[in-house]
């Protein structure tokens, strides 16, 4: 290969990369409070005639516990892992367990979840935003994530959570439930101590959401770092996507600092 040819190839590569780079959007979009916890559910099947569903956690969190869907209804906590099919829904699994016309609206009205055209999608997104802000006004405020303090809402009785579905859930044995607070010391001196409250988690999650897959059952035996949590392990499995985000430092680092 002559020098010129090599040069010419270099120039073309250079131009292509220039175009590619300018087109790529390298900054992550900020998550808005009304979109926090939204999950796009869609599989690329052979006949993609329907649009993906945008599942909104916030419309479900005021009625049901996390456990109900993620344990009893077998929804995975990772996007794209559940692989819900139409026949699943029709036979009463996943969404179909509630969306049968009795517990919640029937799935026969496809448009409620699958918007068809782009214009429809925009419209439903706009409606969802309106609904969210209307709902948010009735709830205790928070600074991060959804900007709704779900824990407080449950505490104050503003939302009533259903934990079981007849015919699907088994009633939990209450004697297994642990309400202990677990204090933890952060590695860096000067940071407030961490208090993990079992009782606040148990209301939503029961035991099986966290143990033993994310956390071993023995106290203090799960080695965690903040970096791993941010990467989506341990606490980061929920806190960062659906439950209040990790930015809300003081919610976990909650014990005032006592130095010496």
């Amino acid at each position: 290969m002559t020098r010129e040819k090599r040069m010419l190839r270099g120039v073309t590569l250079f131009i292509i990369s220039f175009f590619l780079f300018t087109m790529a959007d390298n900054a992550a979009a900020m998550q808005k409070s009304y979109q926090y916890g939204n999950v796009k559910m869609g599989q690329s099947g052979e006949n993609d005639s329907v649009a993906p569903v945008t599942f909104q956690h916030w419309t479900h969190r005021d009625k049901y516990t996390c456990r109900l869907c993620h344990v009893d209804l077998e929804f995975s906590q990772y996007p794209g892992e559940t692989q819900v099919l139409e026949e699943d829904n029709r036979e009463g699994r996943y969404c179909g367990a509630c969306h049968n016309g009795k517990e919640a609206f029937d799935i026969k009205t496809c448009d409620e979840c699958h918007a068809k055209t782009d214009a429809e999608q925009k419209l439903s997104a706009r409606q969802a935003k309106k609904d969210f802000y209307k709902f948010k006004k009735t709830m205790p405020p928070a600074t991060y994530g959804n900007k709704i303090n779900w824990m407080k809402a449950e505490d104050q009785g503003k939302i009533k959570l259903k934990d079981t579905l007849p015919g699907i859930s088994f009633v939990q044995n209450a004697s297994m439930i642990n309400n202990r607070d677990e204090p933890r010391k952060p590695k860096l001196p000067g940071l407030p101590d961490i208090i993990f409250s079992h009782s606040k988690h148990v209301v939503w999650n029961g035991c099986g959401m966290c143990h033993p897959d994310s956390f071993t059952i023995e106290t203090g035996k799960t080695p965690m770092t903040m970096k791993e949590i941010i990467a989506g392990k341990f606490c980061g499995r929920c806190h960062g996507t659906v439950a209040f985000p990790l930015n809300d430092c003081l919610r976990c680092h909650s014990k005032p600092v006592t130095l010496k």
Partner: protein
Amino acid sequence: MFFTNYRSIVRLLKRRCGMYRIAGMLIVSFFMLCGCNGSKSVPQDATLASVKPTGQVDSSAGQETSTVSSPCGGSVLFDKMDATMYQGDPEKYGDVIFSERSLKNNVDPVVFSHRTHRTRYTCRVCHLELDFSMKKGESGVTREDYLDGRFCGACHNGKIAFPVDIDRDCDRCHVPIDSKGQYTNKDFAVKGASQQKYGDGVNWVESLQTGVISPKTSLYNKENSSSMPLPEHLKKERLRWTAKSPKYPVSVAVSFPHEAHVKWLDCANCHPDIFMVQKNGTVDFDKDKILEGQYCGVCHLTVAFPMDGCRRCHPRRKKKK
């Protein structure tokens, strides 16, 4: 910066003929048009370009230059830095023009002045509590939003600041902008503030320290407004490190004060989305990226003091005794 490339292309074209020549000419003209003035070029959106003020630093413009980085050494970096230096009117530094929606609806765009707001509120109030994005055009504020008490409407409701729902006051925010991107902004002086020669001319960090300004840190929480206390080792001293890059044959001392930032910002404004929480945990962190508007460049190109204040982050190295 493309001079070397340009010459080689011309030399090459002399030997070639036919299709290559035409293609080469196109390439060269393309570079001349877009690449070389990348930093000063207007954004691709034609509607936006018409209202862009001439001197204003825009992060999207910075991105174009950096993407064509070539391994030519330090001079490229300096070119880029020159391009991001703010040369406009200090009064207009940090102004953001909300034009995406208003132009579609034939309304004059809103000119938001960071300067007037910084004396009263810290960054975290709007960029965290009120959901304003740090990226231009991402917040998507609608009239419906602010009339319902969100975004601007959280303060501009007649109780905290002048209301937005009365027709007569529209022009306090919606300012006409001519085709050259010029507009008149109200005179606003920060009384007694310490001065600086670049950016908006006000040293905000010092002004806050001396108590000339006392911005509120939260709209909702009265006592426990700010974020988590800093760990001990960050309270006592600045983070210091030496920045090295395989691209450039220089190494520079960097010093970062957490203390000065925490007074304005929440932990969450930077961590963990912009910077990882661990030291050296942020990969890909270099000056090029900063000049593209990432990392420090998220604020320190457009609102916080611009890159002209070199010594504020890159102190002179102390000689070893």
